[in-house]
Symmetry: C2
Subunit: 275 residues, 2 copies
């Protein structure tokens, strides 16, 4: 949002729950010239305060997923998936669900593709939440159309650490209409999936973006053979660097060729040159 | 490199000058499962030690721009520029020059497009170095075909903090053959250009990537009217976050609607609602 505001010459304010947003996102917003305002509370408190405040403040518009223009933009993810799959619709679209704008918007995009006669089918939408912040999954399982907010949402995946999602109703409709499902994953499963994705696939994402991969590991055995599954990874891993524990001072330090040779040889499964 | 190695199932070691590489790059390489080895010295020391070591070590290949396969991959940037400009060749391609692989490779790509009869012209290559690490620019200005290494290269732009570029000869040939030019910029100019790019264009890059923008500000008045200029921004700003000074504890903290209203009103150029 701050990048687009910078390009458009519009003043941007970023309202964040104090101490709860990954540092990279703050750095990025600051670089784009946005004004950061911290709210004493969690994401839900910050969103609620923002919406109440700007409703009486002409000249300001909230850019969260309660803003319909935001969903109109986000729905184009569906068009991109369709295009990048060679103009075909996947069987499943799996994505992390926090404030629930993305799943609502992507479902809208696929419905429009079908309603305009461009495609014949729609995918099943699979929403993944962290166990500690799963109001939508719980409502879905109960068959309820409204959520019971989670007062103290808790998960390593800061982007989906949300207890009272603004687009909960739309997301629940997306899950039902698409004959999809809601799943929850633990922080351990998220962290393991993030590591798998980076160390085996070369894709480095923020923790929330690994939630779909964690969920997929759980259900892949139950899906139809040859099902086409798209997992949406929503955030670059560089935004959330603090969750990768790296102490660079622990990396070996060498000062000559023999030291480097020794380390490289140890790195290979067996000595590469005879002793 | 570590991302591709992860995807291919190949063991990767990253040899870095201790304390001289942006933290985000270390986090990324670590996430991809690469083994980081620090060398006591600067970039040039690390590269020289690496090349000497692996020359006697079967099973290892250096992936720096001395590796011809690397340049073959990088040259495709020229094809992408050609494609993304609607299948036309720009008048100028401006890019940061550190180890000089990129400028050599991109020039190779444009030459091949012309030599295979796909295009008729080639762009002028403009290489930009930091004042404190400018061996190629100095050699170019002197009309020399070889560089005098800079023993203690120094610039805020860590990605081009290189005193003895491996591909210096190829880069000098690219500048001359293309009838291009070499320019230097100060750290202050780099920092100002980085800020301009993020706050006005919504593009957040690492410091080295802002060097072409800094150079362009200097020369834009001297270029032909309607010249098409492509600046290559080589690195995401999230890789080098430490160079953006942000003290999040300094951001205002609010706990109620009136506090937020007050801040938002002050942010607007004049009060948006009557007192």
């Amino acid at each position: 949002m701050s990048a687009y505001a910078a390009r458009a010459g519009v003043t941007a304010a970023i309202i964040v729950p104090a101490g709860k947003v990954a540092a990279g996102k703050m750095v990025q917003a600051t670089a784009f010239g946005a004004k950061i305002i911290r709210v004493d509370g969690n994401f839900d408190d910050a969103l609620s305060m923002l919406l109440q405040t700007i409703s009486g403040l002409p000249g300001f518009a909230g850019m969260n997923s309660v803003n319909p223009y935001r969903l109109e933009g986000q729905k184009s993810t569906a068009f991109e998936i369709y295009e990048q799959l060679g103009f075909s619709v996947p069987d499943y679209v799996v994505l992390p669900v926090g404030n629930a704008g993305n799943i609502s918007a992507i479902w809208k995009g696929f419905k429009e593709l079908r309603d305009f006669g461009i495609t014949e089918k729609v995918p099943r939408m699979v929403g993944v939440q962290a166990v500690g912040a799963s109001p939508i999954a719980r409502a879905f399982w109960k068959g309820s159309e409204t959520i019971t907010p989670v007062d103290d949402p808790n998960t390593v995946a800061s982007a989906i650490r949300i207890g009272k999602p603004a687009s909960a109703k739309k997301a629940l409709a997306a899950l039902r209409e698409s004959e999809g499902m809601a799943l929850t994953v633990t922080d351990e499963e998220i962290t393991a999936a993030r590591s798998l994705l980076s160390s085996k696939e070369g894709i480095f994402v923020e923790p929330a973006s690994a939630a779909p991969i964690a969920a997929l590991r759980e259900i892949s055995g139950k899906l139809e053979k040859d099902a086409v599954v798209v997992c949406v990874c929503t955030g670059n891993g560089l935004k959330d660097q603090e969750s990768i524990r790296i102490d660079i001072e622990d990396a070996p330090l060498v000062s000559d060729r023999s030291g480097l040779t020794d380390l490289l040889e140890r790195l290979a499964s067996r000595p590469l040159v005879p002793a």
